[in-house]
Symmetry: C2
Subunit: 356 residues, 2 copies
Amino acid sequence: MLTRPDVAIVGAGPVGLAIAWRCATRGLRVTVHDPAPGSGASRVAAGMLAPVAEAYFGERELTGLLTASAARWPGFAAELTAATGREFGYRTDGTLVVGLTGDDLAEARRLWSYQQGLGLPISALRPSQLREREPALTPRLRGGAVAPGDHQVDPRRLVDALRVAAERAGATLLPGLVTRLAEVDAPVVVVAAGCGAAALTGLPVRPVKGQVLRLRAPDHRPPGFRHVIRGYADGESVYLVPRDDGEVVLGATVEERADTEVTTGAVLRLLRAAVDLVPELAEYALTEATAGLRPGTPDNAPILGPLPGRPGVLAATGHHRHGIVLTPVTADLITDLIVTGQPDPLLTPFTADRFH
Amino acid sequence: MLTRPDVAIVGAGPVGLAIAWRCATRGLRVTVHDPAPGSGASRVAAGMLAPVAEAYFGERELTGLLTASAARWPGFAAELTAATGREFGYRTDGTLVVGLTGDDLAEARRLWSYQQGLGLPISALRPSQLREREPALTPRLRGGAVAPGDHQVDPRRLVDALRVAAERAGATLLPGLVTRLAEVDAPVVVVAAGCGAAALTGLPVRPVKGQVLRLRAPDHRPPGFRHVIRGYADGESVYLVPRDDGEVVLGATVEERADTEVTTGAVLRLLRAAVDLVPELAEYALTEATAGLRPGTPDNAPILGPLPGRPGVLAATGHHRHGIVLTPVTADLITDLIVTGQPDPLLTPFTADRFH
């Protein structure tokens, strides 16, 4: 690319690549700067699209954004597949929330009662109903719920597809590492650098470590369950995400640490809870143990839109645990803002000035 | 090497390399054939030199050989270091045997009482005495014993040192894979091919899978304990081998399987027992999870010496769980047999004809 781009995006994770794809499709000249596309939080992420099960106490505005983005996912996925011919593990089997002991069930129920109170689609199920849907669940279960609208996608394959889509639409990926925004010459610069945004902008984005395991069903079979399972087991909270190719993603710790070491204690706690919930997992291969850093913010919500005092610089970072589900809405809102100059009202609660 | 060797050794694990070193030192021309030296059972092995703690019921002859080989280890290690200038983690801190629950202690005591009955050096210790020696042990321990003569070495570094020693003494390593003994042209052929010996010779050597984890103490510290710890924890039997560089080897499953997949259930059982015995291990990094195949035999003892009906072919295989401790005695006995033509009486119980 010899001409100056209209938009330079720092960071080629799913958020940065989706913005690049959307902007390039709208006719803008786009560069994306990243020495290692897809190597950040998305590389470790499980890819749950869970606006309901991820609706936590005191996060109503974030819950609204999660819901808005999840609603865009079917169209986003269809467009992306049409543009690239790629599949990326988008599945709509729904999510089961389960509690192993009475205490676990009480904790789970407290949260899903809150979610029901918000009008979100989640319904209690008896143990027999849970095991009817997923016979692989332990008979010891005390109960749970189903969130039929909480889906999943494979983040690694999503990044591959988004990269193809962005490049086909005309965006240019550049491998240089951006250490200061002044190095990038474009009228609009989008900081989609995950944890790297802090050093580039001074935004309050901090690393939140997550350890995740990848398992594989034996004999090239698919996993023995279809739903995403979010379980509480003896006080430990884990999720299990089954993929068509036999993989199960098992996560995740949430640690206020900036290293990416896999620790014995975390692996033990994740495996114990997983095998307690779905006993057949003991026979699965353990194929990968990794730790990633989520870009966390003071209120767990992303930072989207103009940076105060930095004309031409937009933030699209701080997605914490929600980068994958929030990819479509982030890409749409940021692209619209760039093209029209008008911020969508949806953006208002998530701009950086809320921290001032 | 243009001239025909006097001795061709198939397999460059510790046993094959030690025989090569010993034979070359005695002036023989030696070739060692292996496409991947040190990639077999020794790559996964923990390297316990434990003639006492590995003295099991009904294996008196094997116990004698383990004891004889362990007695050669100090001299063998000193010679190898002198020949190469290498260290290989040879440590003589001794071994603690510990039982977590009353049942675990009863099981451990049953075995060490048998070992004491053989006159082997192992003495019971009270929980306070165990924790005086290793404060990192859990206060929950019910009791245990100390085997001061059970030591350790790092098998990976041992293989490196043996390779240097063999080559310096004049042996030649050849990377070709030997699939039939007829491919090797030498008056004496030694089959030291571990599990590969079965296909080459028809000997009753079968793979016995072992899963092993490698942990690392935080902050570049050495592990918080110096002894090898062999523990029984809620019915699970594990060992913990601390290295000076911060590594802890945690093993091992014993499975009648020929695959090398790491499974969730095995990792869970190993970690649970280890953390129950030494709680600080929960803070260690989990750096490696591997599975290897031990060359097992019908009576768990190695197969050493002439192969019936195959003149010029010697076996040095079937070392099962004991390849590292048995390396010195195997190398000495096989080399003496080659040089003198006379089998040492120590060999008699371990020749292949016992299976006819």
